[in-house]
Amino acid sequence: MLEIRNLHASIEAKEILRGIDLKVNVGEVHAIMGPNGSGKSTLANVLAGRPEYQVTAGEVIYEGKDLLAMAPEIRAREGVFLAFQYPVELPGVNNTTFLRAALNEAHKHRNQPEVSAGAFLAMLKKKIQLVEMPDTLLNRAVNEGFSGGEKKRNEILQMAVLEPRLAILDETDSGLDIDALRIVAGGVNKLRSKDNAIIVVTHYQRLLNYIVPDFVHVLYNGKIVKSGDKELALELEERGYDWAKDEEVAAR
C-alpha cells in the first residue's frame, strides 16, 4: 500500500529525514518510535504534505501512485489521514459542517454521491460513540476551547468519519491521561481493519499496550535504525533509545 524509498526531507534548509525506507502493507499497523528530534513528526507531516517541508530526495508510492506529487487535499481524498499532534483550533468553523464538507470532498473525488445533512448527522451520532465524545462538541467550532483530550478524540472522530485507507497518528497519545488514552486507543482499534493500514508515531511505549503494532521501527537522526515486532517496543522501553542508537553505530 505504501512504499517509502530513500526519503530525504528538510525544513528551512535543515535536513531532518536522511533516507527513510519503509514498506507498509494493507491490514498492518506500524509503530514508529524515536527520541525527540529524531524526525518522527517530520515523517508524518511529509506524508500528509505539509508545505513547510521540502522533500529533497527519494519517493513515496501510495497505492501505486506518486504520493509526493499530490497536493495535501488530494492525498486526503485518496485516503491518507494525519491525526495531528497539535490539532488546530478553527474559530467560527462549525465542527459538524467541517466534517461533512471534508467527507463530501472525498465522495466527489471518488464519484460517490454527496451525503445529505440528515444522513450525515445520523452517521455522526454513531461515530461519536466510538470516541465517547459528548455531542455538544459537534456544534462547537472545530477544537476551539476543547481540552487536550477532547482535541485528540476529535481527531479520531474525523478518522472515523473519513475512513482513511492509511491513517498516520502523530503522537496522538502525548499529553493524555490514562482514561483519555484508553478511549483514543479504543477508537483506533475499532477502526483497524484488514482493509486499511495505520502508522502510529509515538515517543512512548505506553500507547502500544493499547494499540498493538505488527511492526516497530526505531527512528534516530532521520533514519530507521532498527525494525522488529512489538517486542522491540518493550526492549526499547527497558534499554532506552541509546541502545538502539549504539546498535546502529556498531552495525556501521
Binding site: 505539509r50 497536493a71 487535499e73 488546530v88 478553527l90 474559530p91 468553523v93 470532498e105
Partner: protein, 441 residues
C-alpha cells in the same frame, strides 16, 4: 485659485441654485440651519493629510470632480423591477427608497402603522413642520467638524425620517434603500433622522447601492436619538459602485438605559469614510458597534469612531473586522472618551484585519481618553494573514485550497455577521462574501 478653493466655489454656487429652487421653504426654521452650515462650509478647508483625523485618507480625488444634483424628475428613473435585486429576499419590512438622493414614492412601501408613528421621507415630513422636526436637525452635530458634514447640512432636504413615540415598538424592520443610478458626476446628500421616545424600539437597515458603475458621490449624515430605555438596531450596508465616493457621518445620542446597536458592512466605493459618533448621555446606556469592511483593488475604507461615555454605568463594545485584498487600504481609528464622572464605565474595543495580498495595508489606532478613575477599558488590534496552520489542517482533511481559504474568511467574518438580526440581510451579506472570494477560483 487653488484646486480646493475652486471646488469650494463650485459647491457654493451649487448652493445658490439649490436655495433658489427652495421657494417657500426658505422661510422655514430649517433654512436658518442650512444658512449657518453653508457659512461654516465657506470657512472650512476640505480635510487633508495634514489633519490628524485624516492623515491616512486622501480625499483629494473627490475634489477633482464638480458633482451636481440629478434632475428630480428623471425619465431614466429605475422601475420596481430594476431595484428588486436590492430587496432582501423574503424580508417583511417598511421600505423607503431614494433614487440619487430623492424620495421615490413609487418604489417605497410602508406597512400599516399606528398614526403617531412616522416612517418615510424627511422632505415629505418637513412640508408640515414648524420646528418640531427641524429642531432635531444638527442638534448633536458639530458643524465645524469637517467640510463634508457642513456641506450635507447646508443641502439638507431629503432622507429617511423615522419617529417612534414613547412606548411604541416598530415590529418590522425599516429598509432604507439609497439607489444611485451610477450616472457620472452626480452627488446625493441624504440626511437621515431617527428619533425614538422612551421605551420604544426600532430596527432599520441603511442600504447604499448602485444600478450601474460610475463616478458619483454620496455624502450622507444620519442623526439618531435613542430615548430612555429604548432600543435602536441599525445596520448599514455600503455597496456603492467601486468607482464611487462615499463619505458618511452617523451621530447618535443615547438616553438612560437606552441601547444602540450598529452593524456596518461595506464592500463598495473607491473611497469610503465613515465617522461614527456615539454619545452615552444617561446612566445605564449601552452601545455595540460592529463592522466588517471588505476592500480590494484600489479601494480605501476608513472608519473613525468615537464613543463618548458622558454618564456613569454605561457599557460599550466595538468590534470591527477587515479583509483586504489587492492594493487596497483600510483605516480604523477607535476613540473612546470617558468623561469625568462617568464611573463604572465598561468598554472594550477590538479591530482585526486579514490581508490577502502583499500590497494591501491597514492603519489601525485605538485612542483612549479616560478622565474617570473607576472604569474598565480594553482594546486590541491585529493585522495578519490567513493562518498557514489552519489552511494545512483544512487541506489535510480533503478541502481544496480555495475552499479552505473561503471557509477561513467566512469564519473570520462570521462573528460580526452573526449579530445581524435580519436573516435575509445576513444571508445576502454572506452571499456577497462568497461571491467576492469565490471569484478567481
Amino acid at each position: 485659485m487653488s484646486e480646493t478653493s475652486k471646488i469650494r466655489e463650485w459647491y457654493l454656487s451649487l448652493f445658490k441654485d439649490f436655495e433658489n429652487r427652495l421657494n417657500g421653504e426658505r422661510s422655514k426654521p430649517l433654512h436658518k440651519i442650512r444658512r449657518s452650515a453653508i457659512d461654516r462650509f465657506a470657512e472650512l478647508d476640505f480635510p487633508n493629510l495634514h489633519q490628524e483625523e485624516w492623515r491616512f485618507t486622501d480625499i483629494s480625488p473627490i475634489l477633482e470632480h464638480s458633482f451636481s444634483y440629478a434632475a428630480r424628475r428623471d425619465d431614466k428613473a429605475p422601475s420596481a423591477k430594476d431595484v428588486s435585486r436590492f430587496m432582501f429576499g423574503g424580508m417583511r419590512s417598511h421600505t423607503i427608497v431614494f433614487v440619487n438622493g430623492f424620495y421615490s414614492a413609487a418604489l417605497s412601501k410602508c406597512l400599516q402603522l399606528p398614526g403617531n408613528l412616522a416612517i418615510g421621507s424627511l422632505a415629505e415630513a418637513m412640508k408640515t413642520d414648524d420646528g418640531q422636526i427641524s429642531g432635531h436637525i444638527s442638534k448633536q452635530l458639530d458643524l465645524g467638524t469637517d467640510a463634508f458634514t457642513a456641506l450635507n447640512t447646508a443641502f439638507t432636504l431629503d432622507g429617511a425620517y423615522i419617529n417612534v413615540p414613547d412606548g411604541a415598538v416598530v415590529e418590522d424592520p425599516v429598509h432604507i434603500l439609497f439607489i444611485s443610478t451610477g450616472d457620472e458626476k452626480l452627488i446625493s446628500q441624504p440626511r437621515n433622522l431617527v428619533i425614538t421616545g422612551d421605551n420604544s424600539q426600532v430596527r432599520f437597515i441603511e442600504h447604499y447601492a448602485s444600478l450601474r458603475t460610475g463616478v458619483y458621490f454620496t455624502n450622507s449624515v444620519t442623526e439618531i436619538e435613542v430615548g430612555r430605555n429604548s432600543m435602536v438596531d441599525a445596520v448599514k450596508v455600503q455597496s456603492e459602485s467601486a468607482e464611487a465616493y462615499h463619505v458618511a457621518s452617523t451621530v447618535s445620542s443615547i438616553g438612560a438605559d437606552g441601547n444602540y446597536e450598529s452593524h456596518a458592512v461595506s464592500n463598495g466605493a473607491r473611497i469610503y469614510r465613515h465617522n461614527i459618533d456615539v454619545r452615552l448621555n444617561g446612566e445605564g446606556g449601552n452601545t455595540t458597534l460592529e463592522g466588517l469592511y471588505l476592500t480590494l483593488g484600489e479601494q480605501l475604507s476608513d472608519t473613525h469612531s468615537l464613543i463618548d461615555h458622558a454618564a456613569p454605568h454605561c457599557t460599550s463594545g466595538e468590534h470591527y473586522k477587515g479583509i483586504l485584498d489587492g492594493k487596497s487600504r483600510a483605516v480604523f481609528n477607535g476613540k473612546i472618551m470617558v468623561r469625568k464622572g462617568a464611573q463604572k464605565t465598561n468598554s472594550y474595543q477590538e479591530n482585526r484585519n486579514i490581508i490577502l495580498s502583499s500590497e494591501a495595508k491597514v492603519d489601525t489606532k485605538p485612542q483612549l481618553e479616560i478622565f474617570a478613575d473607576d472604569v474598565k477599558c480594553s482594546h486590541g488590534a491585529t493585522v495578519g494573514q490567513l493562518s498557514g496552520e489552519s489552511m494545512f489542517y483544512l487541506r489535510s482533511r480533503g478541502i481544496g485550497e480555495e475552499q479552505a481559504k473561503l471557509i477561513l474568511i467566512y469564519a473570520f467574518a462570521s462573528d460580526v455577521l452573526k449579530n445581524i438580526r435580519e436573516d435575509a440581510v445576513r444571508s445576502e451579506l454572506e452571499y456577497v462574501l462568497s461571491t467576492r472570494f469565490l471569484k478567481g477560483m
